[in-house]
Structure formats: structure tokens, C-alpha cells
């Protein structure tokens, strides 16, 4: 196991129990989505994975070794686990895009020319190469998010942890970032873990879904499995993807014989519709 969280709890100094006995593990190359309402503890959980927060009880194993919190171990961990914050303004501090992306590689001790190459490549991957010399305050929010991602990619981590990577992005920006992440996962085996409340995005991205509610890990499973359990989804104040909801209604209100494993994405829905049409009229050509 790459990461293993054992009985992880976190209580903030004001007494809020933000994580309550969470057990979770995930392997290399997985794409995990953490889903939960506002205040359910997603950010708190993510912040444990690269040592920003320490558990108040329980422990975290990384490659079967418990995390250590001295400066050197943290540096080693952060080399391998990149973190992208919810608000790119927190992350971008340098006067130009290029300088900002170079920050990580230079901290890893790369010489200037190597760092520069890493910066160029990372900016190319996120499609921001032509903005290298601009200061961050000239960029749009979505562009800042891309630069923040480049800042982490340039360090070539094995795991990327992202807090709401697609919030405040337009549809195009969201789809671009998603494709980029999927590409990185496929091409380089990058492990991805992201927190979100964008349920429509989850089935497109994740192979594993974790649902958090009030600091507790309610359940873990594949998106298909969990979204088919409509009662559970409703209980934790989430909803299914729109398209899934449509089929749920068709099944309930119109007694359509929909497959109990409800479609989650447009392409699955298309297949299901064609299947239903075929059942209706096998002689038509679909």
C-alpha cells in the first residue's frame, strides 16, 4: 500500500473534531475522489497526507513506514507527494509564473539549468508556456490554477493531492484539467487524490470513491457501486450525477426497466438508452 490511514482522528485546537477514526488505504496509480459536503473534513484529511497537519490520534503509513514529522523526513515526503491548494492565490507567491514554478525544483536542489528545463516542461504540460514571464496577478483564476499545478508537476512527484482542483473553473477549464490529470495518471502512473463536491466530475475521474460525512469515512467503493445506492447518497446530503438522477426517475416514475447499475456518465447513458430502445423495438437499427 502506498498510503494507509489507521484510525486517523483530528481535533482542531478549538475542539472541533474534524476527522473521526478514519481508516483508508490506497495503492500506487489509483485515482481517488474524496466526496463530502462543506465542512465534512476533506481538506483536513488531505492536509494530513503531506504532513501539513498531524493526527491527534491514529497514524499514517506511507509505503508501510509511519510518517515522521522532523524537517528532513517532511522534505522527503513532500518531494514525493505534491499538494495543490484550493485557492491558487495561496500557492503562487513569486513575482513571475516562471519563478513560481521554479521554486519547488530549486528547493529539491536542482541546478538552475535543470530547474529551468523542468519549469518549461511543466508549463507546457498545463498549456501555460507563453505566460512564463508574466506576474501571477495578470492571470485569470483558471490560469492561476494551472500554474499552481505546474508548480507541483515540476517537482515530479509520485502522488498529487488536490483540494477542489476544478472549483471556480469554467466547463472548458474543468475538462482540460481533468484530461490533463487522467493523462498524467495513464502516462506516468501518477497517483491522484482529490477532494471535491462536484459529483458530475467524479465518475469521469475516479476509480475509487470515498464519501466523508461529518468527519467520518462513510464508505469506500467504485463510483458505480456507491452512486447506485441512492439512499446512502441522500443520507449524506450529496446527490447523484444529473444523468444518474434522470435514470433513477425514469425507473421509478415511468417504470422503465433500467439496469440497476445506473449510468453515471453521458457515454454510459447513451449505451443504456440504446439498449432500452432495442428492447422496445429490436427491428429498428440503432
Amino acid at each position: 500500500m502506498l498510503f494507509k490511514l489507521e484510525n486517523l482522528s483530528h481535533r482542531y485546537s478549538d475542539g472541533t473534531l474534524a476527522l473521526d477514526n478514519v481508516n483508508l488505504d490506497f495503492a500506487k496509480g489509483e485515482r481517488i475522489a474524496l466526496l463530502g459536503t462543506n465542512g465534512s473534513g476533506k481538506t483536513t484529511l488531505l492536509n494530513h497526507l503531506n504532513g501539513i497537519l498531524q493526527p491527534t490520534s491514529g497514524r499514517i503509513l506511507f509505503e508501510d513506514q509511519p510518517l515522521k514529522y522532523d524537517a528532513k523526513s517532511l522534505l522527503n515526503l513532500r518531494k514525493r507527494v505534491g499538494f495543490i491548494f484550493q485557492d491558487p492565490n495561496d500557492q503562487l507567491f513569486a513575482p513571475t509564473v516562471e519563478q513560481d514554478v521554479a521554486f519547488g525544483p530549486l528547493n529539491l536542489g536542482q541546478p538552475a539549468d535543470q530547474a529551468k528545463k523542468a519549469v518549461e516542461e511543466a508549463l507546457k504540460v498545463v498549456g501555460m508556456a507563453e505566460y512564463a514571464e508574466k506576474p501571477p496577478h495578470f492571470l485569470s483564476y483558471g490560469q492561476k490554477k494551472r500554474v499552481a499545478l505546474a508548480g507541483v508537476l515540476a517537482m515530479q512527484p509520485e502522488v498529487i493531492v488536490m483540494d477542489e482542483p476544478t472549483s471556480n473553473l469554467d466547463p472548458r477549464g474543468t475538462s482540460d484539467i481533468l484530461h490533463l490529470l487522467l493523462h498524467l495518471n495513464k502516462e506516468f502512473g501518477l497517483t491522484l487524490l482529490l477532494a471535491t463536491h462536484d459529483v458530475d466530475m467524479v465518475p469521469l475521474f475516479a476509480n475509487k470513491l470515498c464519501i466523508l460525512n461529518k468527519g467520518k469515512l462513510v464508505t469506500t467503493g467504485s463510483p458505480v457501486e456507491l452512486f447506485s445506492n441512492t439512499n446512502l447518497i441522500r443520507e449524506v446530503n450529496l446527490r447523484s450525477p444529473r444523468i444518474t438522477h434522470l435514470f433513477e426517475v425514469l425507473k421509478k416514475e415511468n417504470n422503465l426497466s433500467v439496469n440497476p447499475q445506473l449510468p453515471l456518465t453521458i457515454s454510459e447513458a447513451r449505451k443504456e438508452i440504446l439498449r432500452l430502445l432495442y428492447l422496445e423495438n429490436p427491428f429498428e437499427n440503432y
Binding site: 503531506n50 501539513i52 524537517a71 517532511l74 522534505l75 513532500r78 518531494k79 505534491g82 499538494f83 491548494f85 485557492d87 492565490n89 495561496d90 500557492q91 503562487l92 507567491f93 513569486a94 513575482p95 513571475t96 516562471e98 519563478q99 521554479a102 521554486f103 519547488g104 530549486l106 528547493n107 529539491l108 538552475a112 530547474a115 529551468k116 519549469v119 514571464e133 508574466k134 506576474p135 501571477p136 496577478h137 495578470f138 508548480g151 507541483v152 517537482m155
Partner: protein, 265 residues
């Protein structure tokens, strides 16, 4: 142009003008040397040449927008005009050029006072144009790298680097909070306005602390170990440009020395 807007515009100009890619060392050398010559000149010739050439460089060669430059110049010019009027009317000794008999004393305007006032005006305008030259053509990034190379203490450079970046973030936040207050009628009436501004200031202070904390966390997440390292690739200074500036300065110094004893009026 609003005030917060002007900072953004200066900043934008510094990154986009035609001299943005020339060596900052060259630009700093030009601006500082001309500034020193301008303020130490006793005659008008050097400051006028300096003002004219920096203005020409800025507007014609660097393509800085005329409006921006004039807008910036307006402030110091206004202040200097006031001070110079004051100098002309109340300073000086020796030969009087006007005497006005007031009921309680004789008010004299001296020739030397007027001369001093005119000289001061041009010296300051010359110096100000040099500063604007630097500000409008050299990005803060380049300044930081130059400072670092000049062995200015790291703490100072790193602090200014962060301050610079977050000025813009906080400007944005302030703008948004201000609008939010206005939309909820927080600025109707003087008392309410004062109260709203107080709230805004207090909030901004807290936001600043939070921002600091979050940025520090984010920096740590990328392996910050107490030192901000930056890529230091800067355009090299061109020998010809430096030589040109040196000749220009030398000519100015000669002009200053030769006109030293020529009166202003």
C-alpha cells in the same frame, strides 16, 4: 484612473514596455547616475537635458503610454510647484526684485530666491523623471534579482518579494470587500461609512494574517527550507549601452561644471 488602478498599470507597464528585456543593471545605472547629476547641478542645463532625454526614452523608445506618464508626473509636479512658489516668495537675500509694503512689514522678493526656486524646480523634475524611468521600465522581479546580486541582505529581498506579490492579492480583496459593503449600502451616510471602513480595515488585517499562514503552509508543501531560491537569468548588460551612458553622463558633468557660475536669472 483610480489609485489602485495606477499601481497595476505601473506594474503592467514595467513588464510590457520595450525596455523590459534590457539589462536591469544598465537601466539602474542610467537612472541613478542621471538622478545624481540632476540633483547636484546648480544650473538648469543638465536637469533639462536629463528630463528631455528620459522623457524621450520613455515615450518614444520604451513606448510607455503618454497618459500614464503624464498622470504620474502630475503629482510631484504639483507638489514641487507649490514648494517652489514658497521658495520664490519667501527665500533669498541680496538684490530685491520687488518690494510690497504691507501694513505691518515690508515684504521683499529677492532675485536669489527666485533663482533658487527655478533651479530647484528643474532639478527635482529631472530627478523625478529618472525615477519614473526606472519604475516604468524595470520589473520588480528584475529589481529583486539585481538587489540580490548586489548582496543586499536576503531577508530584505525575500520580504519585499512576498510583500510585492501580496500587495496585489490584498488590493483585490480590499476592492471586493469595499464593493460588497457598498452593495449592502454600507457607505450611505458619514457615520456608517466610517464604521464600514473600520470594519474593512480590521477584516483586512485578519485576512493578511491568514494569508500569511496559508502561503507559508503552501511554501512548506513545496519544500521551503527558509530560503527562497530564484532562477537568476537576466539579460546581460550590453557594453555599448553602458559606454553610451557613461559618455552621456560625462557630457552632463562637463555641462554642469561649465555652467556652474552662470546665474539662473
Amino acid at each position: 484612473m483610480s489609485h489602485s488602478d495606477i499601481y497595476t498599470q505601473i506594474d503592467r507597464c514595467a513588464y510590457t514596455n520595450r525596455f523590459a528585456k534590457t539589462s536591469p543593471t544598465t537601466k539602474i545605472f542610467f537612472a541613478l547616475s542621471a538622478l545624481i547629476i540632476s540633483v547636484s547641478s546648480t544650473s538648469l542645463i543638465a536637469p533639462i537635458i536629463i528630463f528631455a532625454s528620459t522623457t524621450l526614452l520613455l515615450l518614444y523608445f520604451a513606448r510607455v503610454r503618454v497618459r500614464l506618464y503624464l498622470f504620474l508626473l502630475a503629482y510631484p509636479t504639483f507638489m514641487v510647484t507649490l514648494s517652489c512658489l514658497f521658495i520664490a516668495l519667501f527665500f533669498g537675500t541680496g538684490q530685491p526684485i520687488a518690494e510690497i509694503a504691507l501694513p505691518w512689514f515690508n515684504w521683499t522678493i529677492f532675485r536669489s530666491g527666485v533663482a533658487m526656486s527655478i533651479a530647484t524646480f528643474f532639478r527635482v523634475e529631472g530627478a523625478v523623471s529618472c525615477l519614473f524611468f526606472l519604475v516604468l521600465t524595470t520589473s520588480v522581479t528584475d529589481l529583486f534579482i539585481t538587489l540580490r546580486r548586489a548582496h543586499v541582505p536576503k531577508v530584505l529581498v525575500e520580504m519585499s518579494l512576498l510583500i510585492y506579490r501580496y500587495i496585489f492579492v490584498l488590493l483585490e480583496v480590499t476592492g471586493k470587500m469595499n464593493t460588497a459593503q457598498k452593495l449592502r449600502l454600507g457607505h450611505s451616510g458619514v457615520m456608517r461609512r466610517i464604521r464600514s471602513l473600520g470594519l474593512l480595515a480590521g477584516n483586512l488585517f485578519i485576512r493578511t494574517l491568514e494569508q500569511g499562514e496559508r502561503t507559508f503552509t503552501a511554501m512548506n508543501a513545496r519544500g521551503y527550507d527558509g530560503e527562497i531560491r530564484v532562477l537568476e537569468d537576466m539579460p546581460p548588460s550590453s557594453k555599448t549601452a553602458l559606454a553610451g551612458i557613461a559618455v552621456f553622463d560625462a557630457a552632463l558633468v562637463v555641462a554642469v561644471l561649465f555652467t556652474m557660475n552662470i546665474g539662473v536669472v
